[in-house]
Structure formats: C-alpha cells, structure tokens
C-alpha cells in the first residue's frame, strides 16, 4: 500500500490540522496509520519489542508536539515521521548523545523558494519512491529493504540470501544508485 493515495487524506493535512487546531481526530488517524509501521521499522533495526512499542508511541506524540514546525512544503509526512522515529531511536540507544551526529550546522543552504505547485512535490517524492522501487528488480528491492529496515551487515545478507558477498555488495550499490538517481531526477 502507499501512504499517500487518492482515497485517504494526505497525512500532511492531518499534521497541519493538529498544528492549527489541536485536532485529536487527526492525531488518531495519523497514529493508526503510522505507529504500527514505525514499530515495524524499529523492530527491524533490532529494538526490543517493548521499547519499539514505546518509541513508536513517543514518535507520534512528538509529531503532535512539533506539528507547528512541520513544513509541508519541505517534507512529506512519512519522511518527517521516519526521521523523528530514527532520531528518537538513536537518542534512546545512546545516553551521551551523539544525537550530535544528526544535528548538523549547515548554513550554506538557501531556503527553498517554492511556489504552491512545487509545494506538492514532497509528498509526490514519497510516491516516487514506490515508482522508483517498481523500476528495480525483485532482487534489488530486497536488498534496498534490507538496507533500510534490517540491521544487517552485507555478509549476513549474503548468508541469508545464499549468494556471494561480492554479489550482495554490487547489488546494493546498483540498487541504491538507481533509487537515488531516480529520486533526485524527480525532485
């Protein structure tokens, strides 16, 4: 399934409603849609089940708290939630906080100037991910999913798929390069 399709409300709209009116119904929809997926992502990276449950809940609560800083012109809802969950997981795993490593000081990036037409692009980008994935072979899709959602070294992937390590490395390289090229060509 895709999270952004014609049938359900664009999740960005849900976040905007939370920001503007503290809409609990919008929050409940967002929670139902995303919490089980965030939990699945966290479990795949080796987070223990109880912690994954709590972090998924915390991720959605963070969405509520930070809804006002969400910029629908800059990021799709799924991407924003994905990075929130990622950062929470990193924070939880490291006491000292090398959250440092995701708080970059970057001053040289010009603010994007977006027209309303361009502002729809980000959620389109998430849709493009599905398109770009369809453009890969099943074997390539498999290694992309493992790269994102499983905490596995290439050698473990090789063992699991029963193929040589060199093949895994070249498959990962090709698949990620195609995905990145496709996404950057579209954005």
């Amino acid at each position: 399934m895709t999270l952004v399709d014609g049938r359900t409300e664009d999740p960005r709209g849900l976040i905007v409603r939370i920001a503007q009116t503290g809409d609990r119904e919008a929050f409940a929809q967002l929670f139902t849609l995303f919490a089980p997926r965030v939990k699945s992502y966290l479990l795949g990276l080796g987070t223990p089940p109880q912690a994954a449950e709590e972090l998924a809940q915390e991720a959605l609560l963070t969405v509520w708290r930070k809804a006002a800083v969400f910029d629908p012109a800059r990021a799709g809802a799924a991407t924003w939630i994905f990075t929130i969950a990622r950062n929470l997981r990193i924070d939880a795993a490291r006491r000292d906080r090398s959250a440092l490593s995701y708080a970059l000081n970057v001053h040289d990036e010009p603010e994007p100037i977006e027209t309303p037409a361009e502002a729809t692009l980000s959620s389109d980008n998430e849709r493009h991910v599905a398109e770009a994935m369809r453009g890969l072979s099943e074997e390539q899709r498999e290694v992309v999913r493992l790269s994102f959602f499983q905490d596995k070294a290439h050698s473990e992937i090789a063992t699991e798929l029963g193929i040589p390590l060199g093949t895994v490395k070249s498959r990962v390289r090709l698949a990620l390069a195609r995905l990145r090229d496709r996404l950057e060509a579209l954005s």
Partner: protein
C-alpha cells in the same frame, strides 16, 4: 572547496535510516557538513525511508496504545513546539566531546572521542605531522576516516580536507601524511586495528588505537 571522496550510497542510506554504529555516524556527519552533494543524497534516502514505511509490514500496537497516547495528550492540551536549544554554531568536529590527548611522537597525537560507542570500537582524532607514515595496518572491521585538515595519501589516492574514506576488513594499508602541513583526521574503527609488524604493534599498545 568541495570534497572529492565521498561515502558510498550504502553508507549514506544506512546513515539516513539510523543504522550506523555510534562513532561511525559522526564521521559521516562531519563529511556531510562539508558536502552539499552528500546532504542531498541523505535527503533522498530519508525520502526513500519515508516512502518505504508505506510498504513495510505493519506490526500491531497494543490495543490500548492509542487511548494511552490520547490520554497523554490531555496533559499537553495544545501542540506547542519545544523551545529550540541554543544553537551551537561551531562545526561538528569542534563540538565533539573529547577525552585526554595522548602524544605519540613530535606533532602526532590521538585523542579519543567520548561518545557512547561499542567498547570494541575506537573513535578518535588522529593528528600526524607532515610527511609521516602511519602504521601499516589491517582492520578487524570497517574503518571510516574524515580528513579535517591537511592531506593524506593512501594507496595512491590523496585525501584532502573534507574527504571521506571507508576501508574494509580485508584492506591492509599504511596511509602517509603529505608534506607541508600535518594532517588531522576523525576516525572510527570497528575493533582494534591490527598492526602488521612488531614496531607498529608497540606504537599501538601505547596509543591505544
């Protein structure tokens, strides 16, 4: 000055997904601050991660998790952005928490980066004087290097400030600092590096790398 040696897409994707080990992510982040191309790559892979959440198999939350979350919202009635932490405008490599510097030789030292990394790994700043060869070594696991200043020659490739280099387990090498100025690097190594001769091992023993 733009970097000419970059992390692979596999490394950028793992960074975007939060899958890199502590310390290794710092080396990548240091490069990202210097490299708009790789920042764009990370943003693409974050978008990919967000898009892939749509195809991931959902895992059911506890049945009372939503009501629990809604109850917690009652205690924070309106969404307010948390106050932004005071911005520390220094570069990442200047903000690293550091341990005690250990001198190796004139102009050369190592200084551990005090982050909560795997005890089996090493994360450190390494300063080597101009024209000096580092020890000939192999690795028990991958090694990430970011060149903060100066230049380093490794297997015929010259790495300049801003460059990133990933070496693999099987790789045996002996990086040499280019003449002119010393070289300062941020390094993360999985496991201790394995020196190839007794003199290297001796230096290692005292330097703790």
């Amino acid at each position: 000055v733009s970097a000419s040696h970059h992390p692979s897409d596999a490394v950028l994707a793992a960074y975007a997904a939060g899958g890199l080990k502590v310390g290794f992510d710092l080396v990548v982040a240091a490069h990202l601050e210097a490299c708009p191309t790789c920042r764009r790559g990370v943003r693409s892979f974050e978008t990919a991660g967000g898009g892939l959440l749509g195809s991931i198999e959902p895992v059911a939350m506890h049945e009372d998790s939503l009501s629990h979350a809604l109850a917690r919202l009652e205690r924070e009635p309106s969404p307010t952005p948390p106050p932004a932490p005071p911005a520390d405008r220094r570069r990442l490599v200047e903000r690293l928490p550091l341990g005690r510097r250990r001198w190796l030789a004139p102009g050369a030292w190592v200084q551990p980066v005090a982050v909560d990394h795997d005890p089996a790994d090493r994360v450190y700043l390494l300063r080597v004087g101009p024209g000096v060869q580092t020890i000939h070594h192999a690795h028990a696991g991958p090694e990430f290097t970011y060149v903060i200043s100066g230049a380093l020659k490794d297997d015929g490739v010259v790495l300049h400030a801003g460059d990133f280099c990933e070496r693999d387990t099987e790789h045996v090498h002996q990086p040499t600092v280019m003449p002119g100025q010393g070289c300062l690097c941020l390094v993360a190594t999985q496991g201790s590096i394995i020196g190839q001769d007794w003199a290297s091992r001796l230096i290692q023993k005292f330097a703790g790398v």
